[in-house]
C-alpha cells in the first residue's frame, strides 16, 4: 500500500513536469477533436500522430498518445448527441437517447451528464488501474512461453467472438493478420519469409501503416461513397449542468457503467465499444421504465458514456502489465512503445517506472483537463463539425500520407497503407472486421516465438500447453468461446443493440 502511494507520488512528479503537462493537454485536445470528427477514430489518429512523437521522450509520447485515446471517448459523445452521428464507434449507442434528448431541447444536460459521467468513470478506472496494475504485473512474472502463447490465443479468440458480423470471417481475418506478421526475417532461423524478393518487405509489414490504411484511408473511401449528411441541431446548447433530478436518475447508471466498463476493458479483445453496448443493455434491463429508452432516457447516455471511458482506462492494464494489447488502439500503442525502444510487459514497471506511473497519473490529470476543456468548448466543437467534408477528407488523406511516410522516411510504408486502405474498404463491403487482423498482426511474432520456445522446452510435446494450469485455463476459455457460438446463437453486438 505504502509502495503504491510512493509510486503514485512519483507518478505525479513525472506527470506534472511542464513538458509532460503540455503533451497531456495536446493529447486530450487532439483526442476530443478526433472524437468529434466522424470518420476519424482514435486508432487512425494515434497511428497518424505517432511519427510526430519520434523527437520527444517515450514518457511524453505515451502520455500524449494515451490522451488521444481517452480524449476521443469524451469527444465522440458530442456528435452523437448533437448530430446523431457517432464521432467514433464507442459512441454509437449514445445516439439512441442522446439525440432524442437533444430533440427535446435537453442537449445541454445530455452533454453535461456525458462529460461528468466520463470524468467519474475515467477517474474510477485510473484508480483501479493503479491498484490492479502492479498486482497483475507480479502474476505475469511467473508466466513462461506456454502461458503467453495461450493467453494470446485467448485474446484473439475473444476479439473474434465480440467482433461484429460473422465469427468465421473474424477468424479468417485473425489468420490473415498472423500470416502478415510472418513477413520479413524469422527471428529464430534468420530466414526471410514471404518477401517475394521485394526489398521493402524485408523488414516486415508494419502495424502502423496497416492500421492507417484499414481505419483511416478506408473510412474516407466509405464516406466518399455515402456523402455524409449533417444537419446540425439549430437549438442553442444551454444548461450544461444536469439538474439534481438528472443526477439522481443517472448516478447508478454511472456507477454500473464504470465498473462494467473497467472489467470489459481489461479483457483482451474487449474494450470501449463492447462496454458501451453492454452498458446500454444493462441500463435498459435495470430501468423501471424501459419504454423510455430510445426516447431520451438520460440513463441511456450516462451508462454507456461512463462505460466507454472506464473501458478505455481498463484496456491499458493488459498492455502495460502483460504487453498484450486488448484492442486495435492498444495494438498501435504497443507498436509505438516498441518504436521508442520499450518492451511493454511485466518488467515495464521495473525497467521504466517513470513511463508506467507517469502515464497512469497523467490520466488523472488528463481527465480533469477534459472536464474543464469539454464543457466550455462545445460551441467550438460544433463549429468544427460544420467544416464541409470536401475540405476535411483531403486533409485526413494528407495527414495519412505524411504520417505513413514519416514512420521510416520511405514510400514503401505509404504504398502498404494505400493497399490496406483499399483492402479495408473492400472488407467493409464484404462485411469483414479489421480489428482481429490488426491484433493478430501485432501479436504474431510473439505468438510464434512463444509457441516455438514452448515446443523446444517440452521437446516437441504439445501437452505442455495443457499440463500447466494457467495455460490450460486460458485454452479452456478459448475453446469455450469457439464452441459456444456453434451450440447457441451467439450474442452479437447487434442483438445487444436491439435488446
Amino acid at each position: 500500500m505504502v509502495e503504491i502511494l510512493q509510486s503514485v507520488v512519483f507518478g505525479f512528479q513525472v506527470a506534472l513536469q511542464p513538458v509532460n503537462l503540455i503533451y497531456c493537454f495536446f493529447g486530450v485536445l487532439i483526442g476530443t477533436l478526433v472524437g468529434v470528427l466522424p470518420g476519424l477514430g482514435p486508432a487512425a489518429a494515434i497511428a497518424l500522430l505517432l511519427p510526430t512523437t519520434f523527437k520527444i521522450t517515450p514518457v511524453s509520447a505515451t502520455i500524449m498518445l494515451a490522451g488521444i485515446y481517452y480524449g476521443a471517448m469524451y469527444g465522440g459523445s458530442t456528435t452523437s448527441i448533437l448530430v446523431n452521428i457517432p464521432g467514433e464507434a464507442a459512441s454509437v449507442v449514445t445516439c439512441l437517447d442522446g439525440y432524442q434528448m437533444a430533440l427535446k431541447g435537453r442537449a445541454g444536460p445530455a452533454l453535461g451528464i456525458a462529460a461528468f459521467g466520463s470524468f467519474i468513470a475515467g477517474t474510477f478506472a485510473v484508480i483501479a488501474l493503479t491498484f490492479v496494475g502492479p498486482l497483475l504485473s507480479n502474476v505475469a512474472l511467473a508466466f513462461g512461453p506456454p502461458e503467453y502463447f495461450s493467453m494470446m490465443i485467448v485474446g484473439i479468440t475473444v476479439l473474434t467472438y465480440l467482433s461484429s458480423g460473422s465469427m468465421i470471417k473474424a477468424l479468417i481475418m485473425a489468420g490473415v493478420g498472423l500470416m502478415l506478421s510472418g513477413v520479413g526475417m524469422d527471428t529464430i532461423s534468420g530466414k526471410y519469409r514471404f518477401t517475394f524478393n521485394i526489398p521493402s518487405l524485408l523488414d516486415g509489414v508494419g502495424v502502423v501503416p496497416v492500421a492507417m490504411g484499414l481505419f483511416g484511408i478506408s473510412e474516407v473511401l466509405l464516406n466518399l461513397e455515402t456523402e455524409i449528411n449533417r444537419d446540425i441541431l439549430a437549438t442553442k446548447v444551454k444548461n450544461l449542468f444536469p439538474t439534481l433530478k438528472d443526477w439522481a436518475d443517472s448516478l447508478w447508471s454511472i456507477v454500473r457503467g464504470s465498473i462494467l466498463g473497467f472489467f470489459l476493458g481489461i479483457i483482451p479483445g474487449g474494450g470501449a465499444v463492447v462496454a458501451s453496448f453492454a452498458s446500454y443493455a444493462i441500463e435498459k434491463k435495470a430501468s423501471k421504465h424501459p419504454e423510455e429508452f430510445g426516447k431520451g432516457a438520460i440513463q441511456g447516455v450516462a451508462g454507456p458514456e461512463s462505460a466507454n471511458n472506464s473501458a478505455a482506462g481498463g484496456s491499458f492494464i493488459p498492455l502495460l502489465t502483460l504487453g498484450i494489447p486488448a484492442n486495435p488502439v492498444m495494438a498501435i500503442l504497443l507498436g509505438a512503445l516498441m518504436i521508442h525502444g520499450l518492451q511493454p510487459g511485466p518488467l515495464l514497471m521495473q525497467n521504466a517506472p517513470d513511463l508506467f506511473w507517469g502515464t497512469i497519473v497523467s490520466m488523472y490529470i488528463g481527465n480533469v483537463m477534459l472536464l474543464v476543456l469539454n464543457l466550455p468548448l462545445i460551441p467550438i466543437w460544433v463549429k468544427v463539425l460544420k467544416v464541409p467534408y470536401y475540405l476535411l477528407y483531403p486533409l485526413i488523406l494528407l495527414f495519412c500520407l505524411i504520417g505513413a511516410y514519416s514512420l521510416d522516411n520511405t514510400v514503401a510504408d505509404v504504398i502498404i497503407m494505400l493497399i490496406f486502405g483499399i483492402l479495408g474498404f473492400l472488407m467493409k463491403k464484404f462485411r469483414y472486421d479489421g480489428a482481429p487482423l490488426i491484433l493478430a498482426l501485432v501479436l504474431g511474432q510473439k505468438l510464434e516465438t512463444s509457441l516455438r520456445r514452448s515446443l523446444i522446452m517440452s521437446q516437441g510435446d504439445f501437452s505442455i500447453f495443457v499440463t500447466r494450469p494457467i495455460s490450460l485455463g486460458f485454452l479452456i476459455t478459448a475453446v469455450l468461446l469457439l464452441i459456444v457460438p456453434v451450440i447457441t446463437q451467439r450474442k452479437r453486438l447487434s442483438t445487444l443493440e436491439e435488446g
Partner: protein, 156 residues
C-alpha cells in the same frame, strides 16, 4: 436476390490461404522438436482455408442477411473513389522525385478543383494555404524530414 459477395470473398481467401500454405511449406515445417520457419503459418493457412470454404458453403445454403441483399457498390460515387485512389498512388510515387511541396500543392488542386469541382481560384488558394501550413508544422516544428525533391536547391 442471391448473395454473391460471400462466395466471392470466401473464394478469394481460399486462394490466398492455399498460396500461403504452399509458400510456408516451401520454407520448411521443421519437426515438432524444432519447429521450422513455416510451421505456424502452414497450419494457420490450413485453418483459414477450411474457414474460407465454410464461408462459401454457408453463404450458398443460407438466406443472405439483409444488408447483403443490396448491391455492394453504389454506382454513384465509384468514379470519385477511383479518382481519389489514383491521386493517392500518384502522390506516393511522385513525392520523392518531385518533393513534398509540389506534390501536396498539385494533390490538393486536383482533389478540390477536378474531383470536387470547386472554383479554381478557391482550389488554388486552399491548396497554397494547406501546403504552406503543413510544411511549417511537419517540417519546421516536428522535423519530419519530408522529401524535398526538385526543390532541394532552395535549402529552407
Amino acid at each position: 436476390m442471391k448473395d454473391k459477395t460471400d462466395p466471392a470473398s470466401g473464394f478469394f481467401w481460399l486462394i490466398f490461404s492455399v498460396f500461403a500454405s504452399y509458400q510456408s511449406y516451401q520454407l520448411g515445417l521443421g519437426t515438432l522438436h524444432q519447429p521450422g520457419p513455416g510451421f505456424l503459418f502452414f497450419w494457420t493457412s490450413i485453418v483459414t482455408a477450411i474457414l474460407s470454404v465454410a464461408v462459401i458453403v454457408i453463404s450458398l445454403s443460407k438466406r443472405p442477411p439483409e444488408e447483403a441483399q443490396q448491391p455492394a457498390f453504389a454506382k454513384k460515387n465509384v468514379t470519385k473513389i477511383v479518382l481519389v485512389l489514383i491521386s493517392l498512388f500518384f502522390y506516393a510515387l511522385l513525392m520523392e522525385p518531385l518533393g513534398f511541396i509540389i506534390v501536396t500543392l498539385v494533390f490538393f488542386i486536383v482533389l478540390l478543383g477536378m474531383i470536387e469541382k470547386k472554383r479554381w481560384s478557391f482550389a488554388v488558394l486552399v491548396s497554397l494555404i494547406v501546403t504552406v501550413v503543413s510544411y511549417l508544422v511537419f517540417e519546421m516544428a516536428l522535423q519530419s524530414q519530408l522529401p524535398k525533391g526538385l526543390l532541394t536547391f532552395l535549402r529552407f
